[in-house]
Each structure stands twice: as structure tokens, then as C-alpha cells.
């Protein structure tokens, strides 16, 4: 019965997405509670799978019991269960937030469409991480790109439409160049299954290297476009500036990370470390990541719309993960996955707290944050913790990932990256501290200095507080998460 669980996960998400439109007549609370129970069930299954896989070992789920050369299969191993666990935890908390804040520009009757799209988005993320077939991954990436664009354009504002359109165009170029990479690999190996392609690439590397070089180039550009890695990040800030806060939280904390994990899966499972180092791709990736870290932070400083600034800071933090991947070492990969977790948590808290500020104060300009600390102590407290994490102050998970990244780059013999880490820490401080200073030290227009409770529904505050507790919790006791990550990274021969 255990090995049916992955399909149960996928089917539960899909069936809820199909069932929601039938409940139009029921009041909205019913659909929300139904959605929440389904998300909870899938979360419990994912946690159980994570436990089962780490104790019993990875297993395949073959459709129709066919040999992988013929049919499709899902690979359930420590890496995919860890990432799906991360996805579901984040989306569960963001879902709790979005139940009350969905009024952020979405019409009352649009709710059920928003949740249909969110469930299909979850279904496609699970599919991308589970599947072990290159073309199947492409189909799920397409579903993901349509759903992410539509949760941006669901808000009836003209900025949303143009931001969503630009996102669709760039995303589409990304997936088509990924597909071109798949076609080139198929041309030389005759398979689309990831492991079989990986094995036959070793022999084909001697006879037809140009095919593989072109395929690597197109795939890196394709997934780079979708994961908003620095030179291809143009769509991210606009998409974040206009999207509702819960969708921009999902977009930057979860969706971008899924593409980065696809990036890791393809680089280290399809191509393998020896082809990569023969073309010295890892050093190129590290350079791209480093440039992204610096340029992302520079752009973030120049913004005065908070959401756009958070978007640019996401681009910078993605640069960290890309540096981790580029190190192509055991420690480098585990730092990259750790930073997926820590950046996911911090970015969700930042976006949700900004959403709460918008919900209560209807403003999002940075210079309008004066004295908000008094009006909304809990939200701004969480924002403060997350901002400290982003800068990398000790006792937060951000510090752990920065420290390990420095260690990994030192070990990997590319120590100049430590200076980049320090420089980016300073740059982060430059654009996060003014907000905190304005919020807590300056007095607000209403001249109210006594701490008043946030006038924001409890359901919105709960996830913000829970995640900020986790930020500090993982910052202090990281080894629980580290062992899980060790299991996950051991599945790649790096």
C-alpha cells in the first residue's frame, strides 16, 4: 500500500481542483475547509513518505508496470520527498494566510478560481519533482507556467496583465529551449528517462560531444529563464510588484525553488559531474550566481516599492543557491538545498508581512513605513526577524546558510566568493535596515507611540509568526534539517 502514496498525493490535489467548481453554490467557508483538509492530508502523506524513504530507501512508481525504457515512472527518493515536504509546508502556511487576505484585489467570486489554480499549481510542482522522465517534466513545467501566470493576472489591474504577459513570453522561451535540449538528447540517446539518458550519455560523450554541449547550453538557458537566475530575471520584479501577496509569496518562495531543484536534478543526474567539469560548467554557474547576488542587491537598493524590492532581493538570494550548485561539491549542494529552505521561509515571512501592512495601511511605499512598528508590532517583529535572516545575523537560518556557503567555497578552493558573501550581506543590510529603522524608531503620522495590537485577522498573523519561529529555530538547531539534506544530497554522485 505504501508505494501507492505518491499517486494518492497527486490524485488528491487533482481531484480537489476538479471538485471545487462544483461547490459554487455552497458558501465559501465550506470550500476553504475542504481545501485545508486536503492540503493537510497531502502534507501528512509527504511527511510519512519522507520518513519511509529515509528509513526503507528510495522506490520507483512505474505506470502500468512497464520497464522504464518503455513507460513512465516516478522516482521517490530522499531528494524528491524532502523538496515536496518543503513545498507542502510552505504552501500550507501561505494557504492559511490567503484565506483571509485573498481580498487583496481579487473579487469575491474569483476565490474558487484562485484555489483551483493553486491546487493545479501544487499538482504540477509535485509532478515535476517526482517524475523521472524528461518530457513528462516538460509537460508539468508547462502546467506550472500557465498556473503561475494566471495567479498573477487574476488581480484585475493593468499592471498585472502586462506583468503576466511578459512572464508568459519569457517563460515560454524558457520551456521551448528546455524542450530543444530534450530533443537534442533524444537525438543522441533514444531515451527520455533521466537515468537511462544519464547512463548512455557517458558513452555518447566521446562520439557526439557537440550534441551534448548544445543540449546543456539550451537547458541551462531554459531553466535559468524560468528560475529567474540573474541575467534572465527581468520578469520577476514586475510579477512580484503587482501580484497579490499570497501569490507572490508562493511564486518567489516555492515556484522558483522548484525550478532550481530541476536545475540540480538535470545537471547532476542527466549530465553527471565528469561531463560538467570537462566543460567547466560549474565555474560558469558560480560566476553567474555571484554576479546575480551583487546585481540583485544593487537593483533592490534603488527601489521604493517594497514588493519590487523583495523581488530583486529574491534574485540576489537565488544567486546564493546558484553559487551553491556551481560548487558542485557535497557541501555546496547541501548548502544550496539548505538555502532553499531558509530563503523560502524568510521570503514568505517578508511577503506575508508586507501583505499584512498593505491589508491594514493600504500602502506599499518604503518611505510610508514610518512608525508601523507601533501600529503592527507582531507583523513588523516578524519582518524584523526575517530581515535579520536575510542579512545573515547569527541565530537565524540565513546565517547558517551563509556560513556554510563560505565554508564550502573555501573548501572548494574558490575563496574569492567569501568576499561576495560579505559584500552581499552589507548590501542586504543597506536596503533592509532603513525599513526596520523607519518602522520602529520614527513615529507614525498618527503620533501613536503605545503598542497597539495589529488590526489584522488572526489567520493572517498565525503563519507569519509560525514561520519566523522556525527561522530562529532552524538557525539555532540546524542539524535536524541538515541530516535530512545529507540523505537527499547523497542521492547525487557529486
Amino acid at each position: 500500500m505504501i508505494e501507492q502514496l505518491p499517486i494518492v498525493n497527486l490524485l488528491l490535489l487533482l481531484l480537489t481542483a476538479l471538485v471545487i467548481p462544483l461547490f459554487k453554490k455552497k458558501n465559501f467557508k465550506f470550500t476553504l475547509s475542504l481545501n485545508f483538509t486536503v492540503l493537510l492530508i497531502v502534507w501528512v502523506i509527504s511527511v510519512y513518505l519522507l520518513y519511509y524513504v529515509n528509513t526503507e530507501g528510495a522506490f520507483y512508481y512505474r505506470f502500468g508496470n512497464y520497464h522504464p525504457m518503455i513507460g513512465l515512472e516516478l522516482l521517490i527518493d530522499p531528494f524528491s520527498t524532502l523538496i515536496t515536504f518543503f513545498i507542502m509546508t510552505m504552501v500550507l502556511l501561505i494557504f492559511v494566510y490567503s484565506t483571509s487576505d485573498a481580498t487583496d484585489g481579487i473579487h469575491q467570486k474569483e476565490y474558487d478560481r484562485y484555489y483551483i489554480l493553486m491546487f493545479i499549481l501544487l499538482f504540477s510542482m509535485y509532478g515535476i519533482i517526482y517524475t523521472n522522465d524528461l518530457f513528462n517534466k516538460y509537460v508539468f513545467m508547462e502546467i506550472l507556467s500557465i498556473t503561475t501566470c494566471s495567479i498573477i493576472s487574476i488581480k484585475r489591474k493593468k499592471q498585472n496583465y502586462s506583468a503576466a504577459f511578459r512572464y508568459v513570453m519569457l517563460n515560454e522561451i524558457g520551456s521551448l529551449s528546455y524542450l530543444f535540449g530534450v530533443a537534442l538528447l533524444y537525438m543522441v540517446t533514444g531515451f527520455t528517462n533521466i537515468e537511462m539518458v544519464g547512463q548512455s550519455l557517458e558513452t555518447v560523450w566521446q562520439t557526439h560531444p557537440t550534441n551534448i554541449v548544445l543540449a546543456i547550453g539550451f537547458m541551462i538557458v531554459g531553466i535559468g529563464l524560468k528560475a529567474a537566475i540573474f541575467p534572465f530575471h527581468i520578469w520577476l520584479p514586475d510579477a512580484h510588484a503587482s501580484a497579490p501577496s499570497s501569490s507572490s509569496a508562493i511564486l518567489s518562495a516555492v515556484v522558483v525553488k522548484v525550478y532550481l531543484m530541476v536545475f540540480v536534478k538535470i545537471l547532476f543526474r542527466v549530465y553527471g559531474i565528469d561531463i560538467l567539469s570537462a566543460l567547466n560548467i560549474p565555474t560558469m554557474i558560480m560566476i553567474i550566481g555571484a554576479v546575480g547576488v551583487i546585481m540583485g542587491s544593487f537593483f533592490a537598493i534603488a527601489q521604493n516599492d517594497v514588493k519590487r524590492m523583495l523581488g530583486y532581493s529574491s534574485v540576489a538570494q537565488i544567486g546564493y543557491i546558484v553559487i551553491g550548485i556551481g560548487l558542485a561539491s557535497y557541501l555546496g549542494l547541501s548548502v544550496a538545498i539548505f538555502h532553499v529552505f531558509s530563503h523560502g521561509m524568510m521570503k514568505t515571512v517578508l511577503f506575508l508581512s508586507v501583505g499584512a501592512v498593505i491589508y491594514q495601511r493600504n500602502t506599499r511605499l518604503i518611505n510610508a513605513f514610518e512608525g508601523v512598528g507601533y501600529l503592527m508590532p507582531i507583523t513588523m517583529g516578524a519582518f524584523f526577524i526575517a530581515a535579520l535572516g536575510m542579512i545573515g545575523i547569527p541565530l537565524t537560518s540565513g546565517f547558517i546558510s551563509k556560513f556554510n556557503l563560505g565554508l564550502a567555497s573555501f573548501e572548494g578552493g574558490s575563496s574569492p566568493y567569501i568576499f561576495i558573501l560579505i559584500a552581499s550581506g552589507i548590501l542586504n543590510a543597506i536596503y533592509y535596515l532603513p525599513i526596520i529603522i523607519a518602522a520602529f524608531l520614527r513615529d507614525n503620522p498618527e503620533k501613536q507611540t503605545v503598542l497597539s495590537k495589529d488590526k489584522v485577522p488572526a489567520l493572517m498573523l498565525a503563519p507569519i509568526v509560525i514561520i519566523s519561529i522556525f527561522i530562529v529555530g532552524i538557525g539555532v538547531f540546524p542539524n535536524g534539517l541538515m541530516t535530512l539534506i545529507e540523505y537527499a544530497v547523497s542521492t547525487f554522485e557529486v
Binding site: L14, L18, F63, G64, Y66, M69, I70, G71, L72, T103, D104, G105, H107, K109, E110, R113, Y114, I116, L117, I120, F123, S124, G127, D133, F135, N136, V139, F140, E142, I143, I146, T147, C149, S150, S153, I154, R156, K157, Y161, Y186, M187, V188, T189, G190, F191, V204, H208, T210, N211, V213, L214, I358, Y359, N362, T363, R364
Partner: protein, 99 residues
């Protein structure tokens, strides 16, 4: 002037691509690399295993049925996406709740 540079970049890209294609295996026969043993398996026992003469339909709905399931979901999402963009339940007045 600007689009002259862009045009030359694309011509350069095209030349590079054609150059690398010339080194690729051109075999369009049964000995080409893409004609792997999975293709031979399909052609030989798709009919017996799925009881269907159109092998493309056999692969589409039996061997790789999960792909086609993903396909129908793409269609379903495109409907929901277009409805969410074009089908306002009431005309979107400008200056709806902002932020």
C-alpha cells in the same frame, strides 16, 4: 542601427547552430542513434501488448498515459486561466480595491 546589431547576433547564433548541427549524427535510417531499442520494442510488441494497431495511439494512451493525463490537465488549466482573465462576474471598474 540597434536592430542591425540584434540581427547580426541572431545570424551569428544561426551560423553557430548550423555548424554544430553539421557534426550531429544525420542518420535518418533504422541505424540512427534515436532508433534505440525502446523504439524497436514499441514497433515489435506494441500490437501484442496493447492489442491496438495504431502504435502512436498505443504509446499515447497506454505506455505514456501519464503524459496524456498531464496534457488534458494543461487543457483544463488553460480554460480556468482564460476564464479568470476574461470572464469578470461584473465589469472591472478601474480603482477597484487597490494595493
Amino acid at each position: 542601427m540597434k536592430n542591425k546589431i540584434i540581427a547580426s547576433i541572431f545570424i551569428l547564433l544561426f551560423v553557430v547552430l548550423v555548424y554544430s548541427i553539421m557534426q550531429m549524427p544525420a542518420g535518418s535510417g533504422t541505424d540512427s542513434l534515436a532508433y534505440s531499442e525502446s523504439t524497436e520494442y514499441y514497433l515489435e510488441n506494441a500490437a501484442s501488448e496493447t492489442g491496438v494497431t495504431n502504435i502512436v495511439a498505443a504509446i499515447l494512451t497506454d505506455y505514456r498515459a501519464f503524459d496524456t493525463l498531464g496534457e488534458t490537465i494543461v487543457l483544463f488549466t488553460s480554460i480556468v486561466a482564460v476564464v479568470s482573465v476574461l470572464r469578470p462576474d461584473r465589469k472591472p471598474k478601474e480603482g477597484e480595491n487597490n494595493g
